[in-house]
Structure formats: structure tokens, C-alpha cells
């Protein structure tokens, strides 16, 4: 009893910035203590202010939530944790990222257990922001956060997090493991699919596939399957046969390249039949392999592939014809009749995918060129923005390059490989200058 009170007092006392490290070491040692006093933790927690004593609060919370919790305990924990995550001080919790991650994970688990993923969304978002040194860092909570958004179907909520470009991975500061990164890419891709932003989804899945790895894992395989389907929808092809684009970008880790194809044979066959542009074939293929797609939860995506094939065929018609009757369109694209063709085209006009006018009297559709003339001020501003983005990116690239050139490990490797010149005109490169002493 006393020891716990003593600990609480220490937390209250040492939570000023000077003594944080001291507090931190104290807390680390008192893990066992906290466990033994588990029932009394509630009172301890109530006497601490999460906004001021974040570090201590964190430890107490973590111990409180370990083990299985009853319904009521869950609710309680969730409430406390939500407030904590929202108000905690970033500097304090940054000292103990693993504990922080664990608490967040518990939050997620409890939310799942209570079947209310919605409740976990805001707290986790706050947690991400607190732990990230800058918006370019990936944290362990990104994956969980996205998962919650997916389960709660709240895609928009995740947008602010998703839109940040991730560059930095720092394991020490954020306690990250590779699996988190893969999950982040996978869930991120799925959310973009939900938002119908197939281009961005492709990017995310490609990150998942090309991440360095020495073994293949289930996340990569699942990501690849979705990648195939989404690239069919977005790009209309999976493997450009006329330009020798390889199946994987060259920087895919070799173990992935070798083994991935065998795991996803169904999808590759679908891709090959898609390229023939024959709707009946593709439909038939999907119905025969429905179970395979369903078990991967990709059936909805597969249906979208069919829809995209219709669209693509209609788009090809716009390249060949100026006007075409609805009946001919229906025949060409293998639709059921002029009515259905009309519906499809209406939808596509509304989505801005083709430019056309339907003349109902004659049953004719006349296709027009893209009215975009690229001569408005809006377009100029857009181009300007893009140029700025690229300049910024180029600067970043140069700075990374400079960093690497000054890196000691790199220089030592370079120094070792430099050729020795035999002639007396050149000084022999002094090896010592480039190695660690």
C-alpha cells in the first residue's frame, strides 16, 4: 500500500521536465510493484492528472489493462484511455514508446471486444499525432487506426492521416516493427479502395509488395492479390505486353518475386483473360472461381473488375466512332440491350469518364473530344502547384543524398573499394582516412 502511494507521490512530484528521466527509471523498476497492487490502481489513477503526469499515468494504465477484462472494466479502461490519449503530453510519453504502443493496442483490442471500433478512432488518431515527431513518421498505431476506420466504415476520418506521405521509419522513437508497416500499407490500400481512389490504393499496395523482406508473408500475398485486381480496374492491364514492363518493379525483393506468382495463380489468370476484353470470358472466370475470391474477401472487388471492363470497352469505342447507335454499342460491348447501354453511358458521363451526348430520338450517342483545352488559369495554377511539389521533392532527395554521402559506414565501404594507383603520379589513396579508427 505504502509503496504504491509512494510511487504515486513520486509521479506527482517528478513530473516536471527536469526529473523526467529519473521518474522514468523509477517507473521501469516498479513494474512488479504495480502488478501486485493491481486492484488499487483505480484509485491511483484517479489521483493523477493525465495531462500533467502522463508518464506515470501511462504505466498505470498499461498494468491496469493487462490480462482479460470484464465488460465493465473494459468500458472503464476505454474511457480513461480515450481521455488520456487526447490530453497526454508528447515529450513524456516519447520516453516510453513501447508502453505507449501497448496501451494503444489494448485500446484497439477492447474496442473490438466491445464491438465498437468507432470509439477507438479518435483516440488512436490523437495518439498518432502525439507520438510522431513529424508527420512524415510512421508509428505502430497507424495500422491499428486504419483497421478501426475500416471496421467502422469511417473512411473519411482516416484521410488526414493517410494523406501524409510517410518517409521516416525510426524504430527507436516509435517502437515499430516491419509487420506494422506492411499492415499500414495493406489497410491504407483498402481504405483507398473504399473511397474509390484506385490510383492511391495501387501506390499503397505497391509499397507493401516492394518492402524489403527476406521471407514471404501472408500480408504481402493478400496485398498482391488486391494489387492485381485494382490495377485491372485502374490501369486496364496488369502486364503491358507491348512494352516489356516486368511483372514486378525491379526493386521487389527477390524472395517475393520468386514465390509470389505461385500463390496467386487465380488472379494472374483473371488478368490474362481481362486483357482479351471479352466480357463473357471474364464473367465466366469469376463465377467459376467465386469461392477463391470470396475466401480472400475480394469478391466485391472482382465484380468491380467486371464493371471496369465494360467502361473500358465503351471508352475504346469513343476512339473509333463519332456517333454510334445504342443498339450497336450494346452489341459491341456485349450488354443486354440499348436500355442498359444507355444507363452505362449516362453513368460514365456523370462520372466524367467519357464525353458524349445521347440523342434519345434516334437512339444515337455522339462522342466528343475532351473539352479540356489546358488554357485556363485554373490549369496554370495546377501546373504551378505540381512544379512546386516536384521542386520540394527534389530538394528532399538531394538532402537525403548528402546525408548518405557523409555517412561513416558508407565512406568506409567506399574507401576500401577504391583502386590503388600504381604510378607515382597519383598518391595512393590513404585507406586509413576512411575507416573507423
Amino acid at each position: 500500500m505504502d509503496s504504491l502511494d509512494a510511487l504515486v507521490a513520486q509521479v506527482q512530484g517528478f513530473s516536471g521536465t527536469d526529473d523526467l528521466l529519473h521518474l522514468f527509471s523509477l517507473l521501469k523498476q516498479s513494474d512488479e510493484l504495480l502488478h501486485t497492487h493491481a486492484p488499487r490502481l483505480q484509485y491511483a489513477l484517479s489521483s493523477l492528472d493525465p495531462a500533467k503526469h502522463s508518464l506515470g499515468y501511462l504505466y498505470l494504465l498499461e498494468v491496469q489493462s493487462s490480462g482479460t477484462l470484464s465488460q465493465e472494466q473494459s468500458e472503464n479502461f476505454l474511457a480513461l484511455a480515450s481521455t488520456f490519449l487526447n490530453v497526454c503530453i508528447a515529450e513524456q510519453i516519447c520516453l516510453a514508446p513501447e508502453k505507449f504502443n501497448m496501451v494503444c493496442r489494448r485500446v484497439k483490442e477492447q474496442a473490438l471486444q466491445l464491438q465498437e471500433p468507432l470509439r477507438a478512432i479518435l483516440p488512436l488518431q490523437a495518439a498518432i499525432r502525439k507520438l510522431q515527431p513529424s508527420s512524415e513518421f510512421l508509428t505502430a498505431m497507424h495500422a491499428d487506426f486504419l483497421q478501426m476506420c475500416l471496421l467502422a466504415k469511417c473512411y473519411k476520418a482516416s484521410l488526414s492521416v493517410l494523406e501524409d506521405d510517410i518517409f521516416e521509419i525510426d524504430q527507436k522513437r516509435t517502437g515499430l516493427v516491419p509487420r506494422d508497416f506492411l499492415l499500414y500499407c495493406y489497410y491504407g490500400g483498402m481504405i483507398h479502395i473504399g473511397l474509390k481512389q484506385f490510383g492511391k490504393a495501387l501506390e499503397f499496395f505497391q509499397h507493401a509488395i516492394t518492402a524489403p523482406a527476406t521471407v514471404l508473408n501472408a500480408i504481402t500475398i493478400a496485398a498482391y492479390k488486391k494489387f492485381v485486381l485494382v490495377s485491372l480496374i485502374q490501369l486496364g492491364q496488369f502486364h503491358d505486353c507491348f512494352v516489356q514492363v516486368p511483372l514486378f518493379p525491379k526493386y521487389t525483393p527477390p524472395v517475393v518475386q520468386r514465390n509470389l506468382k505461385s500463390c496467386v495463380q487465380d488472379y494472374m489468370d483473371l488478368a490474362t483473360s481481362y486483357v482479351t476484353r471479352n466480357i463473357a470470358d471474364v464473367k465466366g472466370y469469376i463465377t467459376t472461381h467465386e469461392d477463391a475470391f470470396k475466401s480472400d474477401n475480394n469478391l466485391g472487388l472482382a465484380r468491380q473488375v467486371i464493371a471496369s471492363l465494360y467502361k473500358r470497352n465503351i471508352q475504346r469505342l469513343t476512339q473509333t466512332y463519332l456517333t454510334l447507335s445504342l443498339q450497336d454499342i450494346a452489341d459491341n460491348v456485349q450488354l443486354d440491350g440499348p436500355k442498359e447501354a444507355e444507363l452505362h453511358i449516362l453513368q460514365m458521363i456523370q462520372d466524367g469518364e467519357i464525353f458524349a451526348r445521347i440523342n434519345q430520338k434516334d437512339g444515337m450517342v455522339s462522342f466528343q473530344e475532351d473539352p479540356e483545352q489546358y488554357n485556363t488559369s485554373a490549369m496554370t495554377m495546377r501546373l504551378n502547384l505540381e512544379i512546386h511539389n516536384i521542386v520540394r521533392l527534389a530538394k528532399k532527395l538531394t538532402s537525403v543524398d548528402e546525408q548518405v554521402s557523409c555517412d561513416q559506414v558508407y565512406l568506409s565501404k567506399i574507401g576500401r573499394d577504391r583502386p590503388r594507383y600504381e604510378t607515382e603520379d597519383f598518391d595512393i589513396v590513404p585507406q586509413k582516412m576512411y575507416t573507423n579508427l
Partner: protein
């Protein structure tokens, strides 16, 4: 003579060749639709093995009993003049007794030929061995040559090929080399090994002092045949139109002058563009001589150049049945015709901003719907830059807007670059922190 007098138009032997049944000179058809091949005059254009091969081919594929029997009869007679007993047996089987008792298996003749052949073979081989021990290069070469000729006459093409190739080591003058190459080419063409044909043609071309125009022409024809076989129509056409007319009848154991005209003309139409067609074919005095022998082909080419497409396609249709009976051309006829038709369509639409499909359909003697489908296919393959107004049945030329296309490409490249660079930076960071997915115990 099968075929009756005066009914059938002579397709192949309009200019050269000995007499036969001809109902008037060559030139445009005057109404006879079912043109039948006149086997005798066709066969008279050739000698040697190719004559028999062609006759057999005609018999196999012509589907008209009278023509088939005529061809087989001529083949029978030709084979009997030679020593190829295996081919004789085959021919008799095909005839199957339909030509009466005079054209059946003459076992006596077979035995006699076999005996004679065995004796000759033994003699040649002993002579050759003798020469080899004496190490006289020229004799060895001639020995192998004779042995090769013998095997060729017997129809044993593989052995003939080997013998001719062996003479290579003993060739001393360019004349020897040329004759060796020509022999090998002859055997290879018959075997259907056109890779060897091209190899030996290039070998022969590289021989110094190849002066004789006949030889040069022969080599060009052989090369053209090799290209034709490998579907390289443009190269084949170039070879054929360059063939010197001095070839004359010197190569009729492989190819007749009419064939040079046909092969060269069709391949050129299918693959040359307008400028090349004019300079290499129409204005080519040398090739004009060949074309005189095949007036239909000459008319056909001129019609195409002058945009009289209906007439041009009409000639093509007339020639088609006989071309399908030609051993070198038959499996290329459809492709060549298709290519010629496509070129005609493209050439027709080229100068116009808008084309009325009805007029075009009547110019090509086809239906509007069919024409529309053909044009749609060509547009999709980007051979014609146009769009079809299906409602009014008009084809409108359409030229890509360069400026818009450039803008689109720029924006696309920009976003691609951004995406790639970001991915690169991310990966670089992953590698730097050694953030690699490793195997091992399950991670939390």
C-alpha cells in the same frame, strides 16, 4: 486432254511455255468465272523434282477430279523418266488405278531401277574411296558431287544434302563454291529447310567474283523464297523485283519466271508503300519483263497504284484459286490478300477529310456494314487516323491534337515522378533502418 477445248482460260502459261490448250491470249477475264488451271501448260514451265512436287500438290489440293487425274498422270510419266522408285510407288497409290492399267505399279521397272541404282551407288562409292586414298582434291569433290546427284535423283534428299555439304571442304575455285551452294540450296528448298537456303545464299554472295548474272539471279530468287517462307514479305519482294530478267529459263527446276512475277508482285503490293511501289516495281524496267509474262499481275499492280480498287480486288479474286495450288505460296495467300486489302482501304481514305462510306463500299464492292467493321478494326489498330459517324455513315479524318496530348503527358509524367520518388525515399529509409521482414518466431 482434260478440260475440253476452248473453255478454260489459261492462267499460268500466257507468255512462255510450250503450247497447250489456250483459249485466247492472257489478259483480263472476259467472263469465264471458274478459271481452271491448265495442268499441262503449268507443268511445262518446270522440270525436275519441282515439277513432280507441284503436280502432286495440285493433285492433292485441287478438288476437281479431272484436274487431279491429269496432274497425276503427268507426274507418273515424269517420275518414270527418273530413278525415284519411292516417289513412283507413292504416285501409283494416289492414282489408285483410276487411270487404267498403263498407270499401275510396274514392279518390273522398279526392280530394274533399284538394281541399276545399287550398282551405280557401289561404283560411285568405290571410286570415291579411291579418290580419297589418292587425296586428289578435285576428284574427291567431283566424287561427292556425283554421289550427291545420284542420291538426289533417287529422291534421298538427306543423303544428297550431306554429300553436297561435304564437297565444301574440297572446293578450290569460286565456281566450285557457287555450284556447291546452288546444289545445297536446291536440296534445301525441296526439303523445306529454308534456314539453310538463306545461309547458303549469303555464303554464295560472299564468294568473290560472282559475275554471272544468271547465278546472281538464281541466288536472288532463292533468297526471295526463303524470305517468303519466313513471312518476311517486304524483304522477299525486294529480292524478287531485283531479280535480273536474264534468269530466263535457267532455274526452272526451282522457279519459273511467271512465279517471280507473281511472288514479287503480290509481296510488293502487300508490303511496299506507295513510293517504293512506284520506284521498285512500276518503273522497274527489269521487273516489267517478268510482269509481261503475267498480265493479270501487271494490271493488278497498276490498278492499285491508280486507285481502281474494285478492279484490282477483282483480279486478286480471279488469281486466288490457282495461287492456292502453288506449293510455295498457298499458305501465304490469305495473309497477303488481307494485307493488300488493308493497304487499299488505308490508301483510299488517306487524302480525304471526310469519306462517304456508301461510295467507298461501292468502290470496294462490299457492303456498308462489312466495310464499317473493317474500318473500325483498322482504326483500333491505329492504321487509319479517323472516326466513324455511324449514324450518317461518314468517315471523318481526325488528327491528334498535339498540344493537348503534350499537356496530358506532362501532367502524367509529373505525377509518376512524384510517386516513384516518394516510394524510393521510403524504401531507402526502410533499408537504412534495416527494417526488413524476417522470418522466425511470430511477431506480436
Amino acid at each position: 486432254m482434260e478440260g475440253g477445248g476452248g473453255e478454260t482460260m489459261d492462267e499460268m502459261g500466257a507468255g512462255g511455255g510450250a503450247g497447250g490448250n489456250r483459249a485466247g491470249g492472257g489478259g483480263g477475264g472476259t467472263g469465264a468465272i471458274a478459271e481452271q488451271i491448265d495442268v499441262e501448260s503449268y507443268a511445262s514451265l518446270y522440270t525436275g523434282h519441282t515439277k513432280v512436287a507441284r503436280l502432286h500438290f495440285i493433285a492433292d489440293y485441287c478438288n476437281v477430279r479431272s484436274v487431279e487425274l491429269e496432274a497425276l498422270r503427268m507426274a507418273f510419266e515424269e517420275i518414270k523418266k527418273g530413278e525415284n522408285t519411292a516417289l513412283f510407288k507413292e504416285c501409283v497409290e494416289k492414282i489408285n488405278g483410276r487411270l487404267g492399267p498403263s498407270h499401275t505399279l510396274d514392279q518390273e521397272w522398279i526392280d530394274m531401277v533399284e538394281r541399276r541404282a545399287a550398282q551405280r551407288q557401289e561404283k560411285l562409292e568405290t571410286e570415291l574411296n579411291g579418290y580419297k586414298t589418292n587425296l586428289i582434291k578435285e576428284s574427291i569433290r567431283m566424287g561427292y558431287n556425283d554421289l550427291g546427284d545420284f542420291h538426289y535423283g533417287r529422291g534421298d534428299l538427306q543423303h544428297a544434302f550431306k554429300c553436297y555439304v561435304r564437297t565444301r571442304d574440297y572446293c578450290t575455285t569460286s565456281k566450285h563454291i557457287i555450284s556447291m551452294c546452288l546444289n545445297v540450296i536446291l536440296v534445301s528448298i525441296e526439303l523445306g529447310h529454308f534456314v539453310h537456303v538463306s545461309n547458303y545464299v549469303s555464303k554464295a554472295d560472299q564468294t568473290p567474283d560472282v559475275q554471272d548474272p544468271v547465278v546472281v539471279a538464281k541466288l536472288k530468287c532463292a533468297a526471295g523464297l526463303a524470305y517468303l517462307e519466313s513471312k518476311k514479305y517486304k524483304l522477299a519482294a525486294r529480292k524478287f523485283v531485283d531479280t535480273n530478267f536474264e534468269l530466263g529459263n535457267n532455274y526452272i527446276d526451282v522457279i519459273a519466271q511467271q512465279d517471280v512475277a507473281v511472288y514479287g508482285g503480290l509481296c510488293a503490293l502487300a508490303s511496299f508503300d506507295r513510293a517504293e511501289l512506284k520506284s521498285k516495281v512500276i518503273d522497274n524496267i527489269n521487273f516489267r519483263n517478268f510482269l509481261e509474262l503475267m498480265p493479270e499481275v501487271r494490271e493488278l499492280i497498276h490498278d492499285f497504284y491508280a486507285s481502281r480498287y474494285a478492279s484490282c480486288l477483282g483480279y486478286l479474286q480471279k488469281l486466288k484459286p490457282n495461287l492456292l495450288l502453288d506449293i510455295h505460296l498457298y499458305d501465304h495467300v490469305d495473309t497477303l490478300y488481307e494485307q493488300i486489302r488493308h493497304r487499299a482501304l488505308i490508301q483510299y481514305t488517306n487524302p480525304f477529310i471526310s469519306v462517304d462510306l456508301n461510295t467507298m463500299a461501292s468502290a470496294f464492292k462490299t457492303s456498308v456494314a462489312g466495310l464499317e467493321k473493317e474500318l473500325a478494326a483498322l482504326i483500333t489498330e491505329n492504321q487509319i487516323q479517323a472516326r466513324i459517324d455511324s449514324h450518317n455513315k461518314i468517315l471523318y479524318a481526325r488528327h491528334a491534337d498535339q498540344r493537348n496530348a503534350t499537356f496530358q503527358r506532362v501532367l502524367q509524367t509529373g505525377s509518376d515522378l512524384q510517386r516513384e520518388t516518394k516510394a524510393l525515399l521510403l524504401r531507402a529509409n526502410l533499408m537504412r533502418h534495416d527494417f526488413v521482414m524476417k522470418g522466425g518466431p511470430k511477431q506480436q
